[in-house]
Homo-oligomer: 209 residues x 2
DNA sequence: GTCTATATGGTGATAGAC
DNA sequence: GTCTATCACCATATAGAC
């Protein structure tokens, strides 16, 4: 995982990243102070500013880790053996699993979607911001393409507005940052079962077949 | 629509409420200053503090309006003629329509779900907070009950984990605060079509029948 | 690398004139 | 009811010792 400046992530940077993700998740970006992050590290804010130029850069790095985890999980699943609807299913299951595994980071990703352009950004931050928006679009695009291919193959309904369908389905997966709690499903197996149940609802709906 | 203190909503209160909802949506609760709200009103913050004791009380009132709109829309739809799956469909369509109509307020509701208990609350604010949590649970409960009834009637699959299914489906509806933009679907009819397409995906999934 | 100041600015909330 | 002025506080970010 590389930072915005292309430097490899040092050990202390990773620790800061995890502390920040936890704080941002619990209190939100604006309500989190650098002192909060430092306190969670058991240190002072000098160390944070030694590794990150600003709070926003820190936020961007947390976002980047979360989004990279999603993109990576989904594209690996996409390249698996499945085709058509089976491929979409594999993507969604991997997606949901990543939502659980990187829970704090994905919570921050969800906040980042809402991040406005009001706060002043340096050119470098602006670049990071644009990159994040692009990565978000890329994720959605992967799903759209796969659903369209499945439509051609006849394993997904042809009468579907793909854009709306994908947005709605991804909403079902992403919203889990709101209600899912790590304490509830600790084992990998429990998480996988949950992911399967969620994806099952999204692919088949409520109606009996 | 009544405020937390039970007073009827005056005209100026309503204006403040709308301005606050817009600001909270655009910048988030913590990044919004009372000056921002006042500026959107074309006034100064004296007027805001004349009507609301604190920023958090203002937030709670915005949240309350948004949540009341959802509860009201969904429970009216529930009491309609439909039964079983048709009733769930009517609830979801009304739900989605309310998400659009009260877009700014529902955006704040989504933020409120994340609102932490860290910030100090007065006993009265604490009471509001608990009431909001309860209203959120009530909304989910309405869906769970209706889905279970539909299961008994055989119009919804019996093999479904109702709690997970409802959370996932509501995620699909609620996430629209993230991607939906008022400019895109101005007419009531365009909105209704969008709502129907979203609900169609949630009830039937992707697979052809 | 990590710490302790501290500069600097913004924000919630209040006081009090009109 | 609405304004101006102001207080008290907190948070970002920096400087500089060790």
């Amino acid at each position: 995982m590389s930072s915005s400046s292309g430097k490899p992530a040092s050990d202390s940077r990773l620790q800061i990243l995890h502390a920040a993700a936890g704080c941002f998740m619990e209190r939100g970006f604006h309500a989190t102070s650098i002192d909060h992050v430092a306190h969670r590290l058991g240190a002072t804010k000098g160390i944070v500013y030694h590794h990150y130029q600003s709070k926003m850069d820190l936020f961007f790095d947390v976002y980047r880790v979360g989004m990279t985890a999603l993109l990576s999980a989904v594209s690996v699943a996409r390249q698996g053996p499945g085709r058509g609807l089976a491929s979409v299913r594999a993507m969604l299951e991997a997606h949901a699993m990543a939502m659980f595994e990187f829970h704090a980071f994905e919570n921050v990703v969800a906040q980042g979607v809402q991040l406005h352009r009001f706060s002043a950004m340096t050119p470098s931050q602006r670049e990071s911001f644009d990159e994040l928006v692009a990565s978000r679009d890329r994720l959605e695009q992967m799903y759209k393409e796969e659903v369209e291919m499945a439509q051609s193959a006849g394993t997904v309904r042809a009468d579907l507005d793909v854009s709306i369908a994908v947005k709605t389905i991804l909403g079902g997966v992403h919203w889990s940052v709101i209600w899912w709690r790590p304490e509830a499903d600790e084992g990998l197996q429990a998480r996988h079962q949950l992911a399967q149940k969620m994806v099952d609802v999204l692919l088949h709906g409520l109606e009996p077949r």
